[in-house]
């Protein structure tokens, strides 16, 4: 059993922490029905599609409403600090949560109290907090895009908004940025850098690049990175090693995109619905 921790863009959405399911195009968690537009619901929907294909158990979704004020995130941090020591998960994937270094440290302390230490995966805001706290090394996988990789590589940057040397679309710089991120202790044990070419790497450097199929419109579609992170979480829960999970996630997301034939105005759900077909073609 694995868990996904994140937010829903609705300030009135309650804190829930229960197994997730898909029904009629909605994400179901407890009594809540959640639209799958982008963000953590899109991540969960992608993980569920992969899990259903392989007959794997669904993830537990720990969600709260937060529209960016951080109020919901702080409730979720506090809840997890109180409860994690009694829970058992093979992996924990942290997503769109308000970055907060102090709460991040408290959460890692709570994780240390868990009966079995889960593999930790971080994307989006929680990856920012992990880097800023100087504790990136305890994570198994980060899934940055190239801009976020430049943020990880810059020891002083507190957020991708303030990253030095952030030059758009220069994929040839990715290996150097990966090396800098590891040299400054700001990378997880495995990185999946999302971009025109996805790059799976570890402290040794680039392990694998994935550039096919090419679907240019995916860059503009909100939530395509969430698909990849959701698939990473699902494959990791199926006991794939981290690098394999990253490589398969990249490939399946690209294949689902190619099957969907999106344009830049398409929505991420158009691609998520194609994940089972992509899995069938790949495996």
């Amino acid at each position: 059993m694995f868990a996904v921790v994140g937010t829903v863009p609705d300030k009135d959405f309650p804190l829930v922490c229960e197994p997730a399911a898909l029904s009629d195009g909605k994400l179901i968690v407890g009594d809540c029905q959640i639209p799958i537009n982008r963000g953590t619901p899109a991540l969960l929907a992608s993980a569920l599609q992969a899990g259903e294909y392989f007959g794997a158990p669904p993830p537990t979704a720990c969600l709260v409403g937060d529209i960016g004020t951080g109020a919901g995130s702080r409730k979720l941090y506090a809840y997890l600090e109180q409860t994690l020591s009694r829970l058992e998960f093979s992996s924990l994937t942290f997503h769109y949560i308000q970055p907060d270094v102090d709460w991040h440290k408290r959460l890692l302390s709570a994780i240390d109290q868990m009966p079995n230490r889960p593999r930790l995966i971080a994307d989006a805001g929680f990856m920012y907090a992990a880097k800023m706290s100087g504790q990136a090394g305890v994570y198994e996988i980060f899934t940055p895009d190239i801009g976020e990789l430049a943020f990880l590589a810059d020891p002083d940057a507190p957020h991708p908004f303030y990253t030095r040397g952030f030059i758009f679309h220069e994929p040839e710089r990715v290996p150097d940025l990966i090396a800098q991120a590891y040299a400054s202790g700001n990378a997880a044990r495995c990185l999946l850098v999302k971009g025109k070419t996805d790059v799976a790497a570890n402290a040794s450097g680039v392990i694998k690049t994935i550039s096919e199929p090419v679907v240019p419109a995916m860059e503009a579609i909100g939530g395509t990175g969430d698909i990849i992170t959701g698939l990473v979480a699902a494959f990791t829960a199926m006991a794939y090693d981290s690098l394999s999970a990253c490589i398969y996630a990249s490939k399946i997301a690209r294949m689902a995109g190619a099957i969907a034939k999106p344009n830049p105005g398409s929505q991420v759900t158009d691609i998520i619905h194609k994940i089972p077909l992509a899995l069938r073609q790949f495996f």
């Binding site: 937010t7 829903v8 970055p99 920012y128 801009g147 507190p158 758009f168 503009a220 344009n263 105005g265």
Partner: protein, 182 residues
């Protein structure tokens, strides 16, 4: 009152990690005091302190605040006519926001990227069709409020966003409006 509070509390400040903190710089001490009072009234996690040497430009007090909340905090201050000169990270007061725009023309659609945020519109109708990138929790919220609306009808990220990602999206939004008006 605010300055007095600062002096009284100086020795009792709890240990706060500074990795995710920012500094608001003001023209003069009077504005610092006004800002402190406004933000304290909202129960913000702030403190008045001396500026780091590299930004010592006149006023000898600055306000430290949670950097991620920059957009929301600046909106609060500006609504009361208090205008910070700048907001900078504690970890690197000389760091400047990423200010390069990247534009991709897909034919029917146009995408503008500012820092880590991307905004895509359908050119013919000026309708926002996608918001992508970023990692703060207001990104999905901003997307849900903006997608499907024209640039003129959609709320400006500055007006409903809360974080640095929202701030970056505002820059992309302004650049997109500029391009669409040409």
């Amino acid at each position: 009152m605010g300055l007095l509070n600062f002096l009284k509390k100086k020795r009792r400040q709890p240990a706060i990690s500074n990795e995710d903190r920012g500094i608001l710089v003001f023209e003069n001490t009077s504005e610092v005091i006004q800002a402190e009072n406004l933000l304290a009234r909202e129960d913000r996690s702030i403190r008045v302190m001396g500026p780091p040497p590299e930004i010592r430009t006149g006023c000898d007090l600055v306000i430290e605040f949670p950097l991620i909340e920059a957009l929301e905090i600046i909106r609060t201050l500006e609504s009361k006519n208090v205008y910070p000169l700048k907001a900078v990270p504690v970890t690197g007061a000389l760091l400047e926001p990423v200010d390069i725009f990247f534009t991709r023309d897909y034919g029917r659609f146009l995408m503008v990227q500012a820092a880590n945020m991307k905004l895509t519109v359908e050119k013919a109708s000026s309708t926002v069709v996608n918001v992508s990138g970023g990692g703060c929790p207001d990104v999905p919220y901003l997307a849900s409020e903006m997608v499907g609306k024209t640039l003129d009808a959609a709320p400006a990220p500055r007006s409903i966003g809360h974080t640095l990602c929202g701030y970056a999206l505002q820059l992309a939004y302004e650049e997109m409006k500029r391009k669409c008006s040409q």
